[in-house]
């Protein structure tokens, strides 16, 4: 059994920042990630990031990931376990982990869950043909392993991920036949949309995929226009000869560990699925378990890093660690996070967070009568 102060599950931007901030106060942390490398989603983001200077805007995700991983390696208070999957959480506070076909037990005093999200899929005829991929999977193939999954792609979903992955497939030398979006408006930032459109990729809003065709693998796809009620308009079908169909229809927060731990969960569409209730310290209804990043609601790397920083600081503080500038550091991060979420594109997140963030401990308690009493760390 490995005893530790803070166990961070997930080594993406949220988890890495959480461990770094906790360690900066003197706490020790163990980071567990099931991938062979640290960085989470960032490792495959080859485009420059949005955000402000403080959040490393205009840097590429992969460079941010490198910087964070390097800082983690240098920090003697942080231990890293890669290729290690957190399997479960037990009542006595033990986290079980599979690494190298061995079963490990970790007994942390605090846990920060930063497991990120998982891609959603979409039902349509023949969606089980080889050649139908998740956009994130294709991005991993192309940007991490250098493998092109095919020659010509139809992208389904015009959110940031669909549009950015389309752009990166063009960079990898593939053709993108078009991007299909059921909604009447493009969800991605318009600057991203504009750059794929001028690179020759049409975006079909109010369209959906009607089906894929092909004998043994994808040989093409049919799309169809939707009316105001989102119903297909007969006769508007268009065929595309493609060998890859890429689905980019959103992510769900990965929350198994939080469910197992008995955290109070709530379905919040704005945050893309079931997420844990949390207080302003990002602590869930189970004392000592914190959530940060996409696991607490699908958002962005910049927000994930700031949430990680907060969770790391708060968990270390709850263990008795502090620093003279603790309050100002925390206040600065909170202010930046608020400003990041303040604009029109942050509206959805703000609405979602309102439904799950409990400012008063009592409120949390009364909302969760069947849960054991919460003890405050502050």
């Amino acid at each position: 059994m490995l005893a530790c102060e803070i166990c961070v599950i997930g080594g993406g931007p949220a988890g890495l920042t959480a461990a770094l901030h906790a360690a900066s106060l003197g706490a020790s942390a163990v980071i567990i990630d099931r991938n062979d490398y640290l960085g989470g989603q960032l490792i495959k983001q080859t485009h420059r990031f949005f955000g402000s200077k403080e959040q490393k805007a205009s840097e590429r995700g992969i460079s941010i990931s490198r910087e964070l991983s390097l800082a983690v390696e240098k920090e003697k208070n942080i231990k890293v376990l890669t290729a290690a999957t957190a399997l479960g959480y037990y009542k006595d506070g033990v986290v079980t982990v599979e690494k190298d076909e061995r079963f490990l037990k970790i007994k942390p005093q605090k846990i920060i869950v930063a497991t990120g999200g998982a891609e959603k899929t979409l039902p349509f005829p023949n969606n089980d043909l080889p050649g139908v991929y998740g956009a994130g999977a294709v991005q991993t193939l192309v940007n991490v392993y250098g493998v092109k999954p095919g020659r010509r792609v139809l992208m389904v979903g015009a959110g940031n991920i669909g549009v950015i992955v389309s752009y990166q497939l063009l960079q990898a030398g593939m053709e993108v036949a078009g991007i299909v979006e059921a909604a009447p408006r493009i969800g991605a930032y318009w600057v991203h949309a504009a750059k794929v459109v001028r690179a020759g990729v049409p975006i079909y809003t109010r369209h959906t995929i009607k089906g894929a065709w092909g004998k043994k693998e994808v040989e093409g796809a049919t799309i169809v226009e939707l009316d105001e009620q989102w119903k297909p308009i007969p006769g508007t079908e268009k065929d595309f000869a493609v060998d890859v169909i890429c689905l980019s229809v959103g992510l769900n927060p990965l929350t198994e560990i939080l469910w197992q731990a008995g955290c109070a969960m709530k379905y919040v569409p704005e945050l893309s699925g079931y997420v844990p209730l949390r207080n302003e310290y990002l602590e869930t209804s189970v004392p000592g378990i914190y959530v940060a990043g996409d696991a607490g609601g699908i958002e962005e790397a910049s927000a994930a890093m700031m949430e990680g920083a907060l969770a790391g600081l708060n968990a270390a503080r709850a263990l008795g660690y502090s620093a003279p500038d603790f309050n100002s550091r925390r206040a600065n991060i909170l202010r930046e996070l608020e400003s990041l979420r303040s604009g029109p594109v942050g509206e959805k997140i703000r609405k979602g967070l309102e439904k799950v963030t409990l400012t008063e401990r009592r409120e949390m308690r009364s909302g969760l009568s069947n849960l054991s009493l919460l003890t405050s760390n502050f």
Binding site: T46, H47, R48, F49, F50, G51, S52, K53, A57, S58, R60, L170, Q171, P184, R185, I186, Y189, W190, V191, H192, A193, A194, K195, V196, V197, R198, A199, G200, V201, P202, I203, T205, S302, S339, L340, R341, S342, G343, P344, V345, G346
Partner: protein
């Protein structure tokens, strides 16, 4: 319309284009960034303080075209690849369009390429004048294209001619 097909309208563009008198004086940056998004590297990259400070990170960039000298620093840092420098004083018949380019292979000065508009359509030929690349550009290269004067507000991308 941008929200529906990713293409800015003439009205969108009218808000951000420099005055003709300014264009007649030489290179100037145009930020084709029309949505409030949490992003501000353009502001931080401009050493001449030609981009107004952002009251909040979701503001849209406002370039003071009188202060801007078209240096192109912001073109390289903008994650949306939304800033272009146009120089209508290049010659009587040709204007220069300096655009961000993240594809390989890179063209060479002297190459003739297909000029592409915001819709992704070929609108004519352009000649590559200069390619700013190298480590400090960090993958976002800037390609200088000489295009016919009347296309300086149309051409925003290019394709290499097929090599035979």
């Amino acid at each position: 319309m941008l929200a529906e097909n990713g293409v800015p309208t003439g009205e969108d563009l009218a808000q951000v284009l420099p005055a003709p008198e300014r264009l007649a004086q030489g290179p100037v940056a145009i930020a084709e960034c029309f949505q409030k998004i949490p992003c501000d590297p353009c502001y931080h990259s401009c050493l001449r303080r030609a981009i107004a400070p952002f009251a909040d990170i979701n503001e849209r960039p406002r370039i003071d075209h009188e202060k801007c000298n078209g240096c192109g620093l912001c073109v390289n840092r903008c994650p949306g690849l939304a800033i272009f420098v146009v120089d209508q004083t290049y010659s009587d018949s040709e204007a220069l369009v300096k655009l961000p380019y993240e594809f390989l292979p890179l063209p060479k000065p002297g190459d003739v390429v297909t000029a592409i508009n915001r819709l992704g359509q070929a609108v004519g030929k352009a000649r590559v004048v200069k390619v700013q690349s190298g480590k400090q550009m960090d993958g976002t290269n800037i390609v200088w294209l000489a295009v016919p004067q009347d296309l300086s507000m149309e051409v925003r991308h290019f394709k290499m001619e097929e090599v035979r």
